[in-house]
C-alpha cells in the first residue's frame, strides 16, 4: 500500500522547499551528519570540478565549538555553484557564505573525498546566526515552521528551522548526538 505523506503547516501547507528539499528535523540532521560545528566563515574560493562541468565554492570556516564529531579548528565546506570569470553557476536556494558570517553547520564528507565536507540536506544543514539588538542569538536554516503528518505512523513531526534560539539548537544537537 502506498502511503501519502501529508503536511500541515502553521502558515500554509508545505511539502518541499525547492530546489527541492523536504524538511528534516534537527535530530535527523544531526543523525545524518558526521560533524556539527559552530563556525565563522574565513575564506571562500570557487573552482571547477575535475571534469570542468561544475563550479564548486569552497569556504573555510574557523570552528568555535564542535557539537558532534571529532574536534577540529577549521573545516572546509564545498557547495554547488559559484562564479569564475564571467560564468556563474547557480542553484536557487543554496546560499553562499560571506566572510565573517557565523553559522551552525551540519556536515558530512563530500563526494570529492578530499577532506572537504558538504552541507547535509543541501541548504538545510546551514543555520545562520543572527544577533538581535537585545543580545539574543537566534539561528535559521530558512525552513519555516511546519508540522508534518505521517499517515503511517499517525504522528506529527514539528519543524522550527526559522525560529530557534542558538541555545535550543545546541541542546537538541547534543542530545541527538548521544543517541
Amino acid at each position: 500500500m502506498k502511503h501519502i505523506l501529508s503536511f500541515v503547516m502553521i502558515f500554509m501547507a508545505t511539502v518541499a522547499l525547492a530546489t527541492s528539499v523536504l524538511p528534516e528535523s534537527v535530530e535527523q540532521l544531526t543523525h545524518l551528519s558526521s560533524v556539527v560545528v559552530e563556525a565563522q566563515a574565513v575564506q571562500s574560493w570557487a573552482q571547477w570540478n575535475e571534469a570542468h562541468t561544475l563550479i564548486f565554492t569552497y569556504t573555510r570556516f574557523s570552528v568555535s565549538r564542535t557539537l558532534k564529531g571529532q574536534m577540529q579548528s577549521s573545516v572546509t565546506v564545498r557547495q554547488l555553484g559559484g562564479t569564475l570569470g564571467n560564468i556563474r553557476q547557480k542553484v536557487s536556494g543554496v546560499r553562499a557564505w560571506r566572510t565573517g558570517e557565523q553559522t551552525v553547520l551540519f556536515l558530512r564528507p563530500s563526494e570529492a573525498q578530499d577532506g572537504t565536507l558538504a552541507v547535509t540536506g543541501l541548504m538545510q544543514g546551514n543555520f545562520l546566526l543572527h544577533r538581535a539588538n537585545n543580545g539574543s542569538v537566534t539561528v535559521s536554516n530558512g525552513v519555516p515552521e511546519a508540522s508534518r503528518y505521517d499517515t503511517r505512523a499517525n504522528s506529527f513531526s514539528e519543524f522550527h528551522g526559522s525560529s530557534l534560539t542558538l541555545a535550543n539548537l545546541e541542546l537538541r544537537v547534543l542530545k541527538a548526538a548521544k543517541q
Binding site: I4, T19, S20, S25, T53, V91, G93, M123, S140, S162
Partner: protein, 334 residues
Amino acid sequence: MTRPRLSLLILFALVAGALILARPAFSYLPQGSALGSAFVPAAWTSPPLWVINPAVSGGGVTANIAGTPSDVTSTMSAAFSTWVHAPNINLGVSTSPYGDSTATSPQNNINLVCFICTGLDFSADGALAVTITSYNVTTGELTNASIYFNPAPEVDGTPVCFTTSDTNASCPQSGSEMEDLQTVATHEVGHFFGLDHSAIVRAIMYPFAPPVLTTLSYDDVAGMSLLYPKSTADVQTGAIQGTVALNGSAVFGAHVFANSSTTATPFSGFPAIRKTPIGTLTDPTGSYTISGVPADSYEVIAEPLDGPVADGNVDWAAEWQQTEVETDFTTRWY
C-alpha cells in the same frame, strides 16, 4: 516598542497597456547578476534544447521512482509544456532530436535531465532535486541548465519515492513516502528558464510547495513573460512602479506585491492559470516595478522579507553586494 513608520510612495500605477520602463523590472525574484545599479536577468537567447537520460537505474544506482523511463520522460515533457504553453510567453523548447542521453554526470554541452547522476553531493536526505543554471554574469545569457534528481532521497530516515502518472508502478524501496514527480519537475523547470524563488504564496516558484501543484500562477506567468514576452500578448498587461522608503530612506529588499481587490479573472481564457498576487523585491534605491500585471484593481502591499520566505531563500542581499535586506518595518498597503 514603537517601530518606525513606513511611508510607501507609489510613483505611478498603470494596470493596462504597455509601459516603457526606465530600468530593469521584475515580477518575480530573478536569477541573474546585479551590475552597478542595474540587474541583468539570466535568460535564454534562443530556444534551449533539453535532453533526458530517462534511465531509472544503472551504474549501480537505482532511483526510487515508481515509473519507467517512458513515464519519467512523459512527466518531464509535461512540466516543460506547462511553462512554454502558458499565456504571454514566447519561448520554444525542444527535446533532443538525437535520442536520449546516457550521461550519468553533468555535461557542458547538454541541458541534462537525470535521475541517476553522480558527482552532485546527493546523499540519503531530504534533498529531492537541484537545477544548476550557468549564465554569463555580464550579458545574462543562459548557456546551460540541468536538472538532477536525487536517486535515493529520504526524510527522517524514511525513503522517498517519486510517483508518476503510472499508478500501477511500484517503488523500488518498500515503505517509501510518496512525492509527486511532476510537482517537483514543474518548479525545477522554472529555474531552468531563469526564474528564482518567488515570495508569492501559491506561485509554483514559491519555495515551499504543497504535495501536488503543477499549474502556474499569475506571478509565475508575469515572471516568465517578462523574460520571454510574446510580441502580441494573449492578455494585455501593464506595470506598477514605485519606491519604498522608511523615514525618507530607501528600503532595500522589501517584498512588494499587487493583490487584486476584485473577483475579476483576466486570465480566464487560460483556466489552468491560478489567480495570485504578483510580486517583486525592491532594489537598493527602494525602487520596484511589478510587471506583467493584467488589467484589474489592486492593492499594493509592502512587507518585510522575514519569513516564511527570507533572504536565505533568494540571496537578494548578496546579489546586490548588500549586508542584508531591511526587515525592520511593518506591513503596509495602499
